[in-house]
């Protein structure tokens, strides 16, 4: 039993890898999605087990399992289930997903459980390259987004590597838990390293001004990929950012606060203001997810366990909201509906999609009873409890601004013109249903999720 517990993750990784490679040979879409999803579900089960038992151990001196990573295992495995099912329904050539998703997921999970800076950089690379491929493999039309993503990722990884190199003289073990002691504040190399970390991870985490590529790529990506990069890749960057700024630079909180604070403000305003005039729904969602990144930064800016808990909660919440939203938007885009105007009459064409999108929009806007509200409530509360009242105020103003474009979209969904009833494949139903079930269930009764994320946050602070 103990062995099973300790080695479940490596074994599952191996299985994933095998499944990915096997897809190359059997070329059976259904089989591939079934196997991949089952494996993700197994990781989910493992994650739940770890989380419930609150277990903590180092495995193969590469992975560190503790409540923080178990939380993320649960989050990402479930997200992967949704993403792979959605990709199966949205992308006619699913096989590339069948092959690359397992690979990519190993990178994602590894970042979550990273115990060394090297793991982080390698895993980030492992996550990014398949993503670029997933976009690029769709043909010439997708050359632009894939190139942009490639360029930015390349810079990001390079900067990341340089940042790690800057630490190396101080701690050659590169283990995150012992990397640096609390005295680095005065060392300019260390400060520079922190800056470069933030900048490098800010690219994927969609922090302003490193995020200008986001709208282009989110909008330009094929329907199957947008949920992946918005719902998973972005969150992974946050996870890495959390691990680095809260663990590696744990002694340097006072200099982190203003940086995170200003990045949060800029990102929120940029995302929300720019979203107001968008007419393309995927692009609007891209900006909205930028603004959500800003909210997550509000929690990080308070650099307390409570703040981290709020951010983790919001990462979880937003992951499923944005996957749901992009799946719906992607499905509709596949049906030729891309602009807000085109969404009019959706409630008559398909009530379920209309309702789900409404719920997700309301949740993102922060309406009580839905998960997005709890997330924002926690985030702004954490800011206030750390004395960052102005930040909380700006956050609340931003969530007020955001109601404009969410409202515009909702209003469009329920406006006049009716059209043909739309047939929705079962996979989409399942994905959207799970997403809104999470949005509603944890919106109405957030206590369990709060408990889990609270334990995760505490454990991260505990490992220093």
């Amino acid at each position: 039993m103990q062995i099973l517990v300790n080695f479940a993750i490596p074994v599952l990784f191996a299985a994933l890898l095998f499944s990915g490679i096997a897809t190359l040979f059997h070329k059976n879409k259904k089989l591939s999605v079934a196997i991949n999803s089952s494996l993700f579900l197994l990781i989910l089960v493992t994650g739940i087990y770890y989380s419930v038992t609150g277990i903590s151990f180092n495995s193969l001196s590469l992975y560190h399992i503790y409540p923080f990573s178990s939380f993320l295992l649960m989050l990402f495995s479930l997200a992967f289930v949704l993403v792979s099912i959605a990709a199966y329904e949205l992308d006619s050539s699913y096989l590339k997903f069948g092959m690359l998703l397992p690979l990519l997921s190993i990178g994602v999970f590894s970042v979550s459980m990273a115990s060394s800076l090297l793991t982080i950089i390698v895993s980030m690379e492992l996550m990014t390259v398949p993503t670029i491929l997933l976009i690029a493999l769709n043909g010439k039309d997708f050359a632009e987004p894939s190139t942009k993503l490639f360029l930015l990722s390349a810079i990001s990884i390079a900067v990341l590597a340089f940042a790690i190199a800057l630490i190396f003289p101080y701690d050659s073990s590169l283990s995150i838990t012992q990397a640096v002691s609390g005295t680095i504040g005065s060392a300019y190399f260390m400060v520079l390293s922190l800056v470069l970390f933030v900048a490098a991870l800010g690219v994927e985490a969609a922090l302003f001004p490193f995020n200008l590529w986001i709208p282009d790529v989110y909008q330009g990506s094929p329907s199957g990929v947008s949920p992946l990069i918005a719902g998973i890749n972005k969150k992974v960057a946050f996870v890495a950012l959390i691990e680095i700024s809260f663990v590696v630079f744990a002694g340097d909180k006072s200099s982190i606060v203003p940086v995170f604070e200003i990045l949060a403000v800029l990102t929120m305003f940029f995302g929300n203001l720019a979203a107001m005039v968008q007419t393309n729904v995927k692009r609007l969602l891209a900006y909205s997810s930028i603004s959500q990144a800003g909210y997550i930064m509000v929690g990080l800016a308070s650099v307390t366990a409570f703040g981290l808990e709020s951010s983790l909660f919001q990462i979880f919440a937003h992951s499923f909201m944005i996957i749901g939203a992009f799946v719906i938007a992607g499905f509709l885009a596949a049906n030729g509906i891309e602009s807000i105007g085109g969404y009019s009459g959706l409630y008559k064409r398909n009530g379920f999609l209309a309702f789900s999108l409404t719920v997700i929009m309301l949740s993102m806007a922060g309406i009580p009873g839905l998960i997005g509200f709890v997330g924002k409530f926690l985030l702004f509360s954490s800011a206030i409890s750390s004395g960052l009242i102005a930040l909380a105020f700006i956050g609340i103003i931003n969530s007020f601004i955001s109601i404009y474009y969410y409202g515009k979209l909702i209003s469009s969904i329920y406006s006049g013109a009716s059209g043909k009833t739309m047939h929705v494949p079962n996979g989409i139903y399942v994905v959207v249903f799970i997403a809104i079930a999470i949005v509603i269930a944890f919106g109405i009764y957030p206590a369990p999720l709060m408990a889990v994320s609270s334990r995760a946050a505490a454990s991260l602070f505990g490992i220093i």
Partner: protein, 588 residues
């Protein structure tokens, strides 16, 4: 017995009236019976428990209890008996008057509720009870004036009346609540007993404004003339004998407070102005009912004059006698109009002498209002004149008014009793019996009311400002001389000269100044509307202000969007700029 129960039968009857749609022949009798029961109860109460003050707790709050209070002090008894007598007569009159069957239930409901409200007002013992009645009076009056909503004018007249009365209602509300805050009670008797208070003058001024609106005094008097658009029983009941006197009655009840507040002169001045305006319009109007309405304004003005002169008993006496003769004249006017095909222009009505049962009672009324000894009107007027003896100017003005009164009322009589021209067909024979009989009964009351002169001061001896009524022989002679002079002038001008009704001299416009008053009203209304227009402009600007704020944000948004150029080079520049930004933050 609880005094307040007296209103129950009439209220019940009114609601029963609403159930008689389809069986309209029962409507009138039902309400008549109800009003008779009520009258009987009023008489019984007045005999059995005079002076009774009863209170029923209505609701309580923070240690205070708000009561529904009734009192049967002599003044209350006088008004409630007056109502008890007149109500059945009016109901009886209406049975003939209301030809349109389908409208009967509505009419009887409204007038029945009015009667109940009036009775409640008469027995009210505190402000809140009084105010309930007061507002119900206003509302029922509004509904009754606009009763014939099929016609052009009544809805407009109704709105005018309610608009004027609203001013009074809210002034009264403000006053009554201020009084409560000062005294922590609504009860009339307690407030009268308590010492004065700095708030009192302002509160009493507001009460006075309210009474002026209700009793149609300058500058709120014009609504009463327009109120004549209502059915004739309504004019006879509300707008001459009962409702309009609510204001006078309230001033009488609260008179010591007005004295304490130093408002007697104001009462006197407004009374004189209103009386003069009423008389001059009455002498020049062409409308058979409006002449009587302006006369009512004048009568009410005279009552205020008497009150202003502290001649309370004279005021009460006039209060009583005026009710009967004015009701009588309105009933007669209704009959004349019926015979002339509902014609309202007095110059187009003819032949009122043709029906003795109409004419003789009417003559009694006319002589009484003119002030011929020994009819009740004579005593009423002479008592007020006698009170004014101490003040020469007032006395002279009152003499002029007396002269005008006798002149215009005989003008009224002379004009509609002309012989009709050949082309006019009259139908005096078809006037319903109930209309004539009720007039006849009222004329008997007019005659009988003279007795009040001898009893009223004794009856009111409890009252602080009561003094004995006395009319000297010399005054009586002068009074009669003025009246006879007025009648003669009227005889010459309006009977011998055969007026055509088309005079348009300047003097006519000075006399018939209601046109100007109405113009002033509409200027005020226009001014308010312009002001509202201005506020509305602000409203639009405010909306625009917030909207432009929103548009500003959207414009910012459009600008911000331009950062995302779609060019990867720019993104790289931004990346570098970001690093520099963070370093700067770290350094600062």
């Amino acid at each position: 017995m609880l005094t307040i129960l007296v209103i129950l039968p009439i209220v019940a009857a009114s609601f029963l009236a609403l159930l008689t749609y389809g069986k309209e022949k029962y409507t009138g009798p039902v309400v008549l019976v109800g009003s008779l029961i009520t009258s009987a109860m009023v008489v019984y109460d007045s005999l059995v428990s005079p002076g009774a003050v009863q209170q029923i707790a209505w609701f309580g709050i923070s240690g205070y209890t708000i009561h529904i209070t009734t009192q049967l002090l002599p003044l209350n008894i006088i008004l409630s008996l007056l109502i008890a007598i007149i109500t059945p007569l009016i109901m009886f009159y209406s049975m003939g008057y209301m030809e349109v069957k389908t409208e009967r239930p509505r009419f009887y409901f409204e007038i029945g509720i009015f009667a109940a409200a009036m009775l409640l007002f008469a027995i009210a013992g505190n402000f809140i009870t009084m105010f309930i009645a007061w507002e119900m009076l206003g509302v029922t009056s509004y509904l009754l004036i606009g009763f014939w909503y099929q016609k052009d004018n009544p809805p407009y007249a109704a709105r005018k009346s309610i608009s004027t009365i609203l001013i009074g209602d809210f002034a009264m509300l403000a006053a009554m609540l201020s009084v409560w805050v000062s005294y922590h009670t609504f009860s009339f008797s307690r407030i009268l007993a308590l010492p004065t208070n700095p708030v009192l003058p302002i509160a009493m001024f507001l009460v006075l404004v309210a009474t002026f609106t209700k009793s149609a005094q300058f500058p709120f008097h014009e609504w009463l003339a327009d109120a004549m658009e209502g059915p004739t029983p309504v004019s006879a009941f509300l707008h001459s004998s009962t409702m309009v006197k609510a204001g006078v009655f309230l001033v009488l009840v609260l008179f010591p407070l007005f004295v304490k507040s130093g408002l007697s002169e104001l009462i006197l001045a407004i009374g004189i102005i209103s009386a003069l305006l009423g008389a001059s319009n009455a002498i020049s109007s062409h409308h058979i009912k409006k002449i009587l309405a302006y006369s009512t304004i004048e009568d009410l003005g005279l009552m205020f004059v008497a009150i202003g002169l502290h001649a309370i008993i004279a005021a009460v006496l006039f209060f009583i006698v005026q009710a009967f003769y004015k009701a009588l004249l309105f009933m007669s006017a209704g009959s004349i109009m019926r015979a002339n095909g509902e014609e309202e222009d007095i110059y187009k009505t003819y032949g009122s002498y043709k029906r003795k049962l109409l004419y003789i009672p009417m003559l009694i009324g006319v002589l009484s209002i003119a002030g011929i000894f020994p009819l009740s009107g004579f005593f009423g007027k002479a008592a007020i004149d006698a009170a004014a003896l101490s003040n020469t100017y007032v006395y002279i003005i009152l003499a002029v008014i007396d002269f005008a009164t006798s002149a215009y009322i005989f003008r009224w009589l002379f004009i509609h009793s002309r012989r009709e021209p050949a082309h006019v067909e009259l139908s005096y024979s078809s006037i319903p019996k109930s209309m004539l009989y009720s007039g006849a009964i009222t004329s008997v009351l007019v005659l009988a009311a003279a007795i009040a002169f001898f009893n009223v001061s004794g009856f009111l001896s409890y009252y602080a400002y009561a003094s004995k009524l006395s009319i000297g022989l010399a005054e009586a002679v002068i009074e009669s001389a003025i009246v006879i002079f007025g009648i003669s002038a009227s005889y010459y001008l309006f009977h011998v000269k055969k007026p055509s009704g088309t005079v348009t001299t300047k003097a006519y416009y000075v006399l018939f100044n209601s046109v100007m008053v109405n113009a002033a009203y509409s200027y005020i209304a226009k001014a308010v509307m312009y002001f509202a227009e201005g506020i509305n402009l602000i409203e639009e600007m405010l909306y625009g202000f917030f909207a432009s704020g929103a548009y500003g944000i959207i414009a910012m948004s459009a600008g911000l969007r331009k950062i995302v150029t779609g060019d990867a080079n720019d993104y790289l520049i931004a990346f570098v700029a970001g690093i520099i930004l963070i370093i700067l933050i770290m350094l600062v």
